[in-house]
């Protein structure tokens, strides 16, 4: 039997350029909106955000482009004790997930079995984005492609240009 028949169909896979994942540490004494404001004031885009208040105040992660790291470190210097950074980080976006927990569960299982780190996750109604080690992004794609089927003539892609806000 064709193994592709048992794979779960998706529309596509998108890969990020190199990112840095910033984390506001729990109970740091700083508020997340201060971190967000400092980054915005320095015109630094966060490509993915996942925050929760389960430790009391809102805390969590956001990803920035690697080339913005030095600027972000300067912007966040006043609250530096409340921040840590993971790099290099890469994001893989799977679309559409169609709220299929079967698909999401299998993706997590595949990444876990291959010993690939999952640094964070954020979904929208249509897409699921996971962050992992940028150096192992191709391995992550291989793991995911074992359980999903992509449309004909579609390959995982990286954006070739960027829209930037002035």
């Amino acid at each position: 039997m064709d193994s592709s028949l048992s794979r779960l169909p998706i529309g596509g896979l998108k890969l990020s350029s190199e990112l840095v994942q910033i984390r506001l540490l729990p109970n740091s004494g700083f508020f997340v909106h201060e971190m967000l404001r400092r980054l915005a004031d320095h015109r630094i885009n966060m490509t993915m955000v996942s925050l929760d208040a389960t430790d009391g105040e809102l805390t969590g992660i956001g990803c920035i482009f690697a080339e913005d790291r030095r600027l972000a470190e300067a912007a966040l210097q006043p609250i530096g004790c409340a921040i840590d950074m993971i790099s290099p980080v890469g994001a893989m976006t799977i679309f559409p997930h169609q709220a299929r927990m079967l698909l999401i569960g299998k993706i997590l299982s595949a990444l876990g079995r291959d010993g690939l780190p999952v640094y964070g996750m954020a979904s929208s109604h249509s897409a699921l984005t996971l962050t992992t080690d940028y150096r192992r992004l191709d391995d992550a794609v291989s793991a995911v492609c074992r359980i999903v089927s992509l449309p004909e003539n579609h390959a995982p892609f990286r954006p070739e240009f960027r829209v930037k806000q002035l």
């Binding site: 350029s17 984390r23 729990p26 508020f31 997340v32 909106h33 967000l36 404001r37 980054l39 915005a40 015109r43 885009n45 966060m46 490509t47 993915m48 955000v49 996942s50 925050l51 929760d52 208040a53 389960t54 809102l58 805390t59 969590g60 992660i61 993971i86 976006t93 709220a99 927990m101 079967l102 999401i104 569960g105 299998k106 993706i107 997590l108 299982s109 595949a110 990444l111 876990g112 079995r113 780190p117 999952v118 640094y119 964070g120 996750m121 954020a122 979904s123 929208s124 109604h125 897409a127 699921l128 984005t129 954006p159 070739e160 240009f161 960027r162 829209v163 930037k164 806000q165 002035l166």
Partner: protein, 196 residues
């Protein structure tokens, strides 16, 4: 990467602000070493508990785990109240806080690889999209600041692509939406007040 397009607007536009009520937020901690087990558990989640996924998101927890959140369209159906009550009280004692609210989930399914189960139910969701949000700075900051300034509590914030999701406690979605309307340029006709 080459940048050859730029974007600017005086007030951040949205395509409309929508909300959903009666949702359930489940949180659990998954060790990095058990991500595969967590994935296997998730594949069986719908058949065990019913309900549909609205959002899934996570972040690292110290020292070596992932805090995983599932926002569902309803409280999972199968219950085991006695054990749930024990866990709720144990969590409250451990964290030196008042118990948050009753947990009505069959916890047996979590045993062995997850910890820190928490159920917030019901919760509400306010969400919106806008032009090129994924490429623009300041969107999350504007949304969170708007809610903070209006005293709207937040349980979670998730941004990916062009979408922003704000999870609030019960009864706060309307206030959140009103706060966002003051901070963002939102077409009234595009708003979606339905719980769909």
């Amino acid at each position: 990467m080459e940048t050859f397009a730029v974007y600017w607007e005086p007030v951040i536009k949205t395509y409309g602000i929508a909300e959903r009520t009666g949702l359930c937020l489940i949180t659990l901690d998954l060790p990095f070493s058990r991500i595969s087990d967590g994935g296997d558990w998730l594949t069986h989640f719908p058949s065990r508990f019913g309900g549909s996924l609205v959002l899934i998101f996570s972040r690292p927890t110290s020292p070596s785990g992932l805090r995983l959140h599932l926002l569902l369209d309803r409280l999972p159906e199968k219950v085991e109240p006695e054990k749930a009550e024990r866990v709720r009280k144990a969590d409250a004692i451990e964290n030196n806080v008042q118990p948050v609210q009753p947990v009505d989930v069959n916890l047996a399914a979590f045993d062995g690889f997850c910890s820190g189960l928490r159920v917030d139910n019901p919760v509400e969701l306010v969400y919106f999209q806008g032009p090129h949000y994924g490429d623009r700075y300041g969107i999350a900051s504007a949304a969170v600041t708007a809610l903070v300034e209006h005293g709207v509590p937040l349980l979670a914030v998730v941004c990916t692509g062009a979408s922003v999701y704000l999870v609030t406690p019960k009864g706060m979605a309307c206030a959140a939406r009103n706060a966002l309307r003051k901070a963002f340029n939102t077409p009234d006709a595009a708003e979606n007040p339905t719980n769909s």
